[in-house]
């Protein structure tokens, strides 16, 4: 009866190694942010965070630039979430509940656009934005980010609507409710978990987006955090602790939110792709 014990020990060691690999880089970001100068460049690196240095986070925010970046990112991400969910709910509902001419085409377009790289679309969109005076504005980024995240949001919500029984809305329709009322009052509340997952995906798609933001924004005060933080690369003036502190503040919300809804996000993302 010794073998099972060996197997169990190996499994525990394996799990710990995987967790270590998964967590270490972000842990290292945190440790670096909380290290003193001498410790960073000493022969032996500090491996545990020095919590007495915690002020580095407050300094990073108080210094102003980072706070502005994060605020801009928040505006872009919130706007993208509202717009893409607002467009994605009716689109997902139409794809789930009706059969109509052009449905297959619409589905194919939704799947196809997911493989287009931002770097490819940035040139024509730049021209479009210049014509409509959308360059150098947070609103312009909200529009383009919504367009890029809309396909996945719509397909996740379509999947969620597919999973709802039709009987409830049919009886509401028999009672004379209009389709729009049925959708907003009956169906939408029932798909809350998928809505939360789509909202998280849309929010952090925009929060993380870099290519459009770095190309379309010129005014430093309008930059989101993705651009601001990327600007630290190759620049030597900012202490590495500040760089890591700002990066950590940028990363932490994404990690926390994904942890809450990861189950639905994973289910939704694979469901959105399965139909391909």
């Amino acid at each position: 009866m010794r073998l099972p014990h060996i197997g169990l020990t190996l499994r525990i060691v394996g799990v710990l190694v995987v967790l270590g690999v998964a967590v270490f880089p972000l842990y290292w970001m945190f440790v670096t942010a909380l290290s003193g100068d001498s410790e960073l460049f000493a022969a032996k690196a500090r491996l545990v965070p020095d919590l007495s240095q915690f002020g580095v986070f407050i300094d990073a925010l108080a210094e102003g630039k980072a706070a502005t970046w994060l605020r801009n990112s928040l505006v872009i991400a919130a706007g993208t979430t509202v717009l893409s969910i607002g467009l994605g709910i009716p689109l997902g509902y139409a794809l789930s509940r009706f059969s109509f001419r052009g449905k297959v085409l619409m589905t194919v377009v939704l799947l196809f656009t997911q493989m287009l790289p931002e770097a490819l679309m940035v040139v024509p969109l730049f021209a479009l934005f210049r014509r409509f005076d959308l360059l150098d504005s947070l609103g312009g980024l909200i529009l383009v980010n919504s367009a890029f995240v809309l396909p996945i949001v719509a397909l996740i919500l379509k999947g969620a609507f597919d999973g709802l029984p039709r009987e409830i809305e049919e009886s509401a329709r028999v009672d004379g409710a209009r389709p729009l009322t049925v959708l907003t009052r009956i169906n939408v509340p029932l798909i809350a978990p998928s809505l939360a997952a789509s909202a998280v995906i849309a929010f952090f798609h925009a929060w993380n987006e870099y290519v459009f933001a770095v190309t379309f924004i010129f005014t430093p005060g309008m930059q989101p955090a993705s651009v601001g933080i990327a600007g630290f690369i190759g620049e030597l003036g900012t202490p590495i602790q500040t760089v890591m502190a700002v990066s950590f503040l940028f990363t932490a919300p994404a990690v926390v939110f994904y942890l809450f809804v990861q189950k639905y996000v994973v289910a939704g993302m694979t469901a959105g792709a399965v139909k391909g």
């Binding site: 967590v23 021209a127 694979t270």
Partner: protein, 314 residues
Amino acid sequence: MTALEQQQLPGPRTGTRRRGSPLGSKWTPYFFLAPAALFILVFQVVPLAQEVFLSFTRTSLLNPTHSTWVGLDNYTRIFGDAEFRRTLLITLIYVVVCVVAAVGTGLAVALLLNKGFRGRGVARALVTIPWAAPGIAVALIAIWMLNPDYGIVNRFLDTVGLGVPGGAILDSPRYALPAILVTTIWQLFPFTSVVLLSALQAVPSHLTEAAMMDGAGRWSTFRAVTWQSIKPTVGLLALLMTIWSLRRFELIWLMTKGGPVGATETLVIDLYSQAFDSKQLGSAAAVGMVGVVVSLIVIAGSRFVARAAEREAG
């Protein structure tokens, strides 16, 4: 519309439809999807069409409204260019290694987490972290960890005697691509792990138990039962990883900009530097189209394989 077609319509039938209201007629679905469709048309379909057009022209970033039609010149030129052929090769290596390693690691981690143990929920959540982290932050921490003088990776490699001479991993034509691959796979494996874990949990346990009872070993049970039931998920993940790897930009751009001397230049990086460094919008668009066509071929191929597998199974 015939009566038969109406029978197939989901939702309420004609009797409950409110006549005179545009919301309850055959226009209803269009009313729901019009805003989104318009949006996708303006921000995706039209720009893509413009890129297709640009790929047949000579256009400078400095004077983008003036295009000269050159037919297939951009395409013949890039395919005749040895550097572009190298870009294709690097893209192929990058994609294949990402797919194999991300799916393979994901399967190993999923098998590890599949057995119930105390704290499995926590482990599952912690494993997700790399996937949730923004690409920009991942690039930044990777650059810091790979810093030639003070990076923890070099310190560690030196300690175990595997140090890279000079330590400048990202400046080395030999080690830059492996470093980017490791970083990419680190960010991808949580996704494949979690997806495969839920596929494993859907494997009917009575089947594996029956196989074990019949005297099948662990490996043959895995092959005969578990693998058969997770195969579609593996296929789907391989497809997703391929498409994501073909379009990945920020991580590579921020870590190496495609360098040193083109050692990490994938199609998307090439496209971006052609457009913004060389200011050649036409050849940039042609490079982009090659990427799009490759993705389409992969998708079509995967559908073909999936159909063949279905036929074989049925």
